[in-house]
Subunit: 334 residues, 2 copies
């Protein structure tokens, strides 16, 4: 896992250098009257797709749907995808229901794109166009370099349809930022020390960073068997705030921009209720910092790198092998 995390700067640099090709690929596919975009994914890939959902809605100004694969694969409903760009994300490109849905979408009028780490996979075979992540084989069970590659791929695809902040300066800064974070291991170590005795964790964010909160919860859960859940700040404020005031540690992700105030208000409220809190983000008071120079739309990439470091450090502290946590298999990894 550590070796694969360390590859990220060069893998991201290579992938991002192909951003013009990816922008051209999606512009060639998009129909004259775009009905909308459909995203198809599961597991970690689904968190990258959640990120893609925000960026595609901003870029296309048309609704973005997430496919429920079971509607086709279990219930046999033949959906008409005419007018849609359909993007499926699967690292292995071999998750049967993802392949089935993308193949069906193409046969039923959709313009289909596969985002995958396996250029020869069945998923690539059924798509009109392929974004090959080319992140190299991932051996550790918890996915790291393939996840940040997927996030970058969704940003590149969205940037092909509208400005989501991935200009040349921002694209070229990402590998440097990730390398600097990977070299800075004290903050994740000390947050891991805070979490070491915990049995549960709530991860909270809002807006574009929500996808990073979901991936943070999954990565920590996969790697350390700590029971972690993600919440939108808007939802935690309603029901589950009861949970947060009963001793469950809360990790809040924040980045400057329109979503910040909602999270910082929630953090202040939780502090008043005596919650056990830690803030990760670009601002003052962040215990797990990343740079403020990253545009908010790209902040999930450094946030997910911090989550990997935290999961890794926490696994070691809890005596778990981060490369092969109990009960996890790579078989159905997407």
């Amino acid at each position: 896992m550590a070796a694969e995390m360390a590859e990220q700067p060069r893998r991201l640099a290579a992938l991002l250098s192909r951003r013009q090709d990816v922008a051209d690929l999606v512009r060639d596919l998009v129909p004259d009257r775009l009905a909308g975009t459909v995203l198809v994914a599961r597991g970690s890939s689904d968190h990258a797709a959640t990120y893609g959902r925000y960026l595609f809605e901003m870029a296309t100004r048309r609704p973005v749907a997430s496919a429920s694969p079971s509607v086709l694969t279990l219930y046999g409903t033949e959906v008409d995808f005419t007018g849609y760009v359909v993007v499926a994300a699967s690292q292995s490109g071999r998750t049967p229901e993802i392949v089935d849905v993308l193949g069906h979408a193409r046969r039923r009028g959709g313009r289909t794109i596969a985002v995958t780490n396996e250029a020869d996979s069945p998923l690539a075979g059924v798509a009109d166009a392929v974004v090959h992540l080319d992140a190299g084989l991932e051996r550790a069970v918890p996915a790291t370099k393939t996840v940040t590659a997927q996030l970058a791929a969704f940003a590149m695809l969205a940037q092909g349809l509208g400005d989501v902040g991935l200009d040349d300066e921002a694209a070229e800064a990402i590998p440097t930022t990730v390398a600097a974070l990977l070299g800075d291991t004290d903050p994740p170590d000390s947050v891991a020390a805070w979490l070491a005795p915990a049995t549960r964790l709530a991860v909270v964010a809002r807006g574009v960073l929500y996808a990073a909160a979901a991936e943070t919860a999954l990565k920590i859960e996969e790697t350390t068997a700590l029971f972690a859940s993600s919440f939108s700040a808007a939802d935690l404020r309603h029901g589950p705030i009861a949970v947060a005031s009963t001793g469950i540690p809360v990790l809040a992700l924040v980045h400057h921009g329109p979503a910040r105030a909602d999270v910082t208000d929630l953090v202040a409220d939780l502090r008043r209720r005596g919650a056990d809190l830690c803030v990760a983000g670009d601002g003052d008071g962040s215990e797990l910092p990343w740079p403020a120079s990253t545009p908010e739309t790209l902040a999930p990439i450094p946030a997910v790198v911090r989550a990997q470091q935290l999961a890794y450090a926490l696994a070691l502290r809890r005596g778990v092998d981060p490369d092969a946590p109990a009960g996890l298999t790579k078989v159905t990894i997407t």
Copy 2:
């Protein structure tokens, strides 16, 4: 909470008796070339919308999107909803961002429907058409009768666009089924006894019942402050199965039909791993039973009633006031 749960048979009967009007309402609104459906909701309403997502996709055979309200309300992105039916669900009809998104959708070409318990609410005011749940004032903080009313409303709307199983026989059976479940309190009491010492819970389902799993987790969490999460059987099989084998109790929801095998296979796998399991559903071996006569597409309604009973019984066993759990307020209830 108990009094409001007990009202459900008559509230559902009254609502379902208006099913022809609701079918006409949605048929009048749907554009000639439907691009898709967009659902807008938060909290418990979001779980009803998850149910609606399956039913609308089956009924319309076009993609179904869930709006990310923050794309408009935080980032100011003006999305074009031409060709879409947009359904917003909010009990109070007063959640500002839900009202903002539906009003925006109508101004930008969407055919808009409000599903709400308040016919005079701002949400009803911005919609082309209103499905008034008319479930009466809900005083207890955990929503019960308004949630089952929302589920019924989504089934009625979907049935207006295509057959999702809500024929006259099925519609007329729902209030009777719910009344019978409410009179049968031993099973939820004994499942509550099983859960009483737990600090965490995983609720798992697949397909249409997934929405009920999400609502079950939220209802138990809201009512008892037990930390509960929901999983699709397809996702639990991948990463978080590690968690399920480390002592966290698992509640699996099953109903006969195409989604059943995935859940029963997972249950068998979890049993082999020594997981602490309980099955709720319509079949043999269910410890929290509901009738097999309910069509699978409508099974979330009895499943959610069982979840209410379980949450209520568990709150009493844990010494929590189910009408006013600590830390929860009704203010932002949707």
